[in-house]
């Protein structure tokens, strides 16, 4: 038991070192003030111990100057920590532009991953080092939380929403993946590993399983199976708007509003088609609630992302250029 007894977690992501640096600063501040209070209490308790039972010390009522000092100094320190922490928080929230996407679905009690190339995993997640990875996450049931201590990152995974977060692994290795939000009986069994690999090894691993085709290809298959294609005709001549070149671009709604077609918008349009009606179209689409799984929806999204305009850029580039940075672009059912 004693041979495996770490006191500090491994640093394995680009932000881990920065979080730890702030953590050490906080430890220094906390130790200083704890030491100061302990010292004051101990010294006063000994130095001014009662020497005679009828001893009456002189009162002192207080000092405005001292009160101001011990209000201002802690305030200054607290605001320093706030500023430092806030700038790092922004950095953690901003997904780098060149991030690769991985789709995550949590359910009681497992993690399901899909790589755009088509590989699917349960509880183990393979990623390359040296490349930012954006996670697009949702839950099939209750709230879970995706937590990798070695990466110092955590994000709750909610049903009915896409939460986005990212990390960039720096060291190949196998790291704990925990569910951090209590999710029911086997909560402590909802664990897995993130396996960070050299990019070459990762490519080899990706190539190992190509059975079902890419996510977009699977999504395309679903698109035909569910009959979406009968109305959403690529050239725009159908009863419903074309989806070519849709992703990441603004959509004009019948209410006069404009929304950006992100993952949350597409998900909502599949499950609650009448929530946002595209301008000049009729609300004729039926809901697909219950007919397509969360993973299926993610495949459909990957398919829509892959539908670039014919004369435009090459397929696949529309996807990552998502307009909204930050951790919470997705608030679908609001």
């Amino acid at each position: 038991m004693l041979e495996n007894f770490p006191l500090f977690p491994t640093q394995a992501s680009t932000i881990a070192g920065e979080v730890d640096l702030l953590f050490f600063f906080l430890i220094a501040v906390a130790s200083f003030f704890t030491g100061l209070i302990f010292l004051m209490v101990t010294v006063f308790a000994i130095r001014y111990r009662r020497r005679a039972s009828d001893e009456i010390p002189k009162p002192n009522l207080g000092s405005l100057r001292l009160e101001l000092i011990w209000t201002a100094i802690p305030l200054l320190i607290a605001m320093t920590i706030f500023g430092w922490s806030a700038s790092l928080y922004f950095k953690m929230a901003r997904v780098p532009d060149d991030a690769m996407d991985i789709y995550v679905v949590g359910r009681q009690w497992m993690w399901k991953f899909q790589h755009p190339e088509g590989n699917r995993e349960i509880n183990d997640l393979h990623v390359p080092v040296g490349r930012p990875v954006r996670l697009i996450m949702t839950s099939e049931d209750v709230i879970h939380s995706f937590y990798v201590p070695a990466f110092r990152m955590k994000m709750d995974v909610l049903p009915g929403r896409y939460h986005t977060t990212w990390f960039e692994a720096t060291k190949p290795g196998r790291y704990h993946l925990f569910c951090a939000e209590y999710c029911g009986t086997q909560h402590s069994g909802m664990v897995g590993s993130v396996i960070a690999m050299e990019p070459r090894d990762y490519e080899a691993w990706l190539a190992g399983d190509t059975s079902g085709g890419s996510m977009a290809a699977r999504g395309g298959k679903l698109f035909n199976q569910l009959g979406c294609v009968t109305c959403h005709v690529p050239d725009g001549s159908g009863r419903c708007p074309t989806l070519v070149g849709l992703f990441g671009n603004p959509v004009q709604l019948i209410t006069g509003e404009q929304v950006v077609a992100d993952e949350a918008y597409i998900r909502e349009s599949i499950l609650q088609p009448n929530a946002k009606i595209v301008s000049a179209y009729q609300p004729i689409m039926p809901t697909y609630q219950g007919q397509v799984s969360e993973e299926g929806i993610l495949q459909l999204i990957a398919y829509v992302k892959s539908l670039a305009p014919a004369s435009g850029e090459t397929p696949g580039t529309v996807g990552p250029a998502q307009a909204t940075p930050g951790t919470n672009p997705a608030s679908s059912s609001q």
Binding site: N60, G62, I81, Y89, A180, G184, Q186
Partner: protein, 559 residues
């Protein structure tokens, strides 16, 4: 409830005492269960919450035993989840929230301000009955198989997915909330309207200020919890779908409503203990409090700021990062009034006449542990560090330092301090000191390793965990057993003292304050005649005050 047992003991022990007092005023069960004497109601509360404390402690013991080994081998995951849920519900709603206010506050608020009773004695008794009914309903949920949602009742797990007695436990917590509201209401009215002649606001003991602040939170916060809990029950029983995304609801709304009460609830637990510590530090230093107005207003500041920081429980929940920053900066601000209090307590000891009786040792313990608890709160207010430690043992360690290290140390310190007043008997001092040391050492051994565990990444509410966390968990469990013994010792000698303790006399500590001017135990009417207050609180010296530092006393400027 076990309420019938202890009062009967109390009454037999004190039959021999000559002066008639509140304990000799009726001996039958009816004289207790229908009493409207705030002091007797305090005893009823003391017995009930002590029972709940040991029940919650039993759950804690089973949790710590399970965590001795990485595999979940002592009990099934299902049972473990029920254990930590019930530990949280019992300790928070049925012990910590009522602890200091309902026992010491009930007993002392009227006595400290020179009143005969609280403003609404019958409502006071009603609040105890509501508490007992809530407790019985929640405990019946335990007996029927327990609850497994965690004390936080997060939706949609609690509304849709849990197969346990959520609705019943929720109804129990809902009902108990009203007891808290009524107590708060009673205190506010009493403090406003029933102060003795000459007892101006700035002559009030700081215990009263802290209870006033606490009462405001109870009155304003508890209804929001009640709403949140009713909505959970409605979702569960009638599929309202308020929090269920499948029905168009929003699970984050629940978290907002829940923490809107439950963060201020932390201040319901800690503020009254801070009031106790102000009384202890002054008495055992024989000094007026340093910076009275700052200590008094910091209580109010904590109560007000406390309502604006709930979102710091949600930094990883997906709330907007801008909201996160706002809650972060407000959380840093709420640390300041706490720091002011700690500095003023320390400064009060400067050039004092300090003695080390048991209650003062609890005050030392409170200051030390609360300081650590408060400073580790800064780690959690810092958004980017919180992302890593949120929902890990770091948070568990932090809030136990506040609630156990702070609130319970304050409660025990206060109970020791006023025990001679409440019962007329002294407890054995040597055993008292021994117990404090056990509690202090056991507490640190239990919870300090959990900070390390948390930063290593061990999530909370885990029934089984990776092997490398075992050593620290073993340390924690070892500490918990010492802590448990430390809590049992006072229980034993308090009961012992009821029969064998030396008679206390009206003022065994040489303390100031109106409650010490009346016999121990006090007469039913508290005072033979209404006291007239002519001096400041903590007037341990009649000499002219020495003014240190600033040119004018801030205290004097407010007179």
């Amino acid at each position: 409830m076990s309420t019938q047992i202890e009062p009967r003991k109390v009454e037999t022990e004190l039959v021999g005492t000559p002066a008639p007092n509140y304990l000799t005023n009726g001996f039958g069960l009816k004289s207790w269960l229908l009493t409207i004497d705030h002091k007797r109601i305090a005893i009823l509360y003391l017995v009930s919450i002590t029972a709940m404390f040991f029940l919650g402690g039993l759950f804690a013991l089973l949790i710590r035993l399970e965590l001795l080994t990485p595999q979940g081998d002592l009990m099934e995951a299902e049972m473990y989840n029920r254990m930590f849920t019930m530990h949280g519900i019992v300790m928070i709603f049925f012990f910590l929230i009522p602890s200091v206010p309902a026992v010491l506050g009930n007993f002392l608020v009227p006595m400290m301000i020179g009143a005969r009773d609280l403003a609404f004695p019958r409502i006071n008794l009603l609040s105890w009955y509501i508490f007992v009914i809530g407790a019985i309903i929640t405990l019946s949920a335990v007996i029927l198989g327990g609850v497994d949602t965690g004390w936080t009742f997060y939706a949609p797990f609690s509304t849709t997915y849990s197969n346990s007695n959520v609705a019943l436990a929720a109804v129990g917590v809902f009902i108990t909330g009203f007891s808290s509201i009524l107590t708060g209401l009673n205190f506010v009215v009493t403090i406003h309207k029933m102060r003795a002649p000459g007892m101006t606001w700035f002559r009030l003991p700081l215990f009263i200020w802290s209870h006033y602040a606490t009462s405001l939170i109870m009155i304003l916060g508890t209804p929001v919890l009640a709403i949140a809990i009713v909505l959970v029950a409605m979702d569960r029983l009638f599929r309202f779908g308020i929090f269920d995304p499948a029905l168009g609801g929003d699970p984050l709304l629940f978290q907002h409503l829940f923490w809107y009460y439950s963060h201020p609830a932390v201040y319901i637990m800690i503020l009254p203990s801070m009031g106790v510590v102000s009384e202890l530090v002054t008495c055992f230093s024989r000094k007026r409090i340093f910076g009275y107005t700052f200590v008094a207003f910091s209580s109010l500041a904590i109560a007000v700021y406390g309502f604006l920081v709930w979102g710091h429980h949600m930094f990883t929940s997906g709330q907007s990062i801008y909201a996160g920053l706002l809650f972060s900066v407000l959380s840093f601000l709420v640390a300041i009034p706490s720091a002011i209090k700690v500095f003023n307590w320390s400064a009060t000891m400067y050039k004092g006449s300090i003695s080390y009786e048991t209650p003062m040792l609890y005050a030392f313990g409170f200051i030390g542990l609360f300081t650590i608890g408060g400073l580790t709160g800064l780690f959690l207010a810092a958004t980017s560090v919180d992302v890593h430690v949120h929902d890990t043992y770091f948070v568990v360690a932090h809030f136990h330092y506040i609630m156990v290290g702070g609130a319970i140390m304050g409660f025990l310190g206060g109970l020791h301090f006023w025990w001679p007043k409440i019962t007329g008997r002294l407890f054995p001092e040597a055993w008292g000191k021994f117990a404090v040391l056990m509690v202090f050492a056991g507490f640190n051994l239990t919870f300090f390793p959990q900070f390390v565990l948390g930063y290593l990444g061990m999530p909370r509410r885990y029934h089984a965990y990776p092997d490398e966390y075992q050593v620290l968990n073993v340390m924690s469990t070892a500490g918990a057993s010492i802590l448990g013994v430390g809590y049992l010792i006072p229980m034993v000698y308090f009961l012992w003292s009821l029969r064998y303790g030396a008679l206390a006399g009206p003022n065994p500590w040489g303390a100031k304050g109106l409650e010490w001017t009346t016999p121990s135990p006090p007469p039913t009417e508290n005072f033979d005649e209404t006291p007239i207050v002519t001096e400041e609180a903590y007037a341990y010296s009649k000499e002219e005050p020495e003014i240190v530092g600033g040119k004018q006393s801030t205290r004097a400027s407010l007179r």
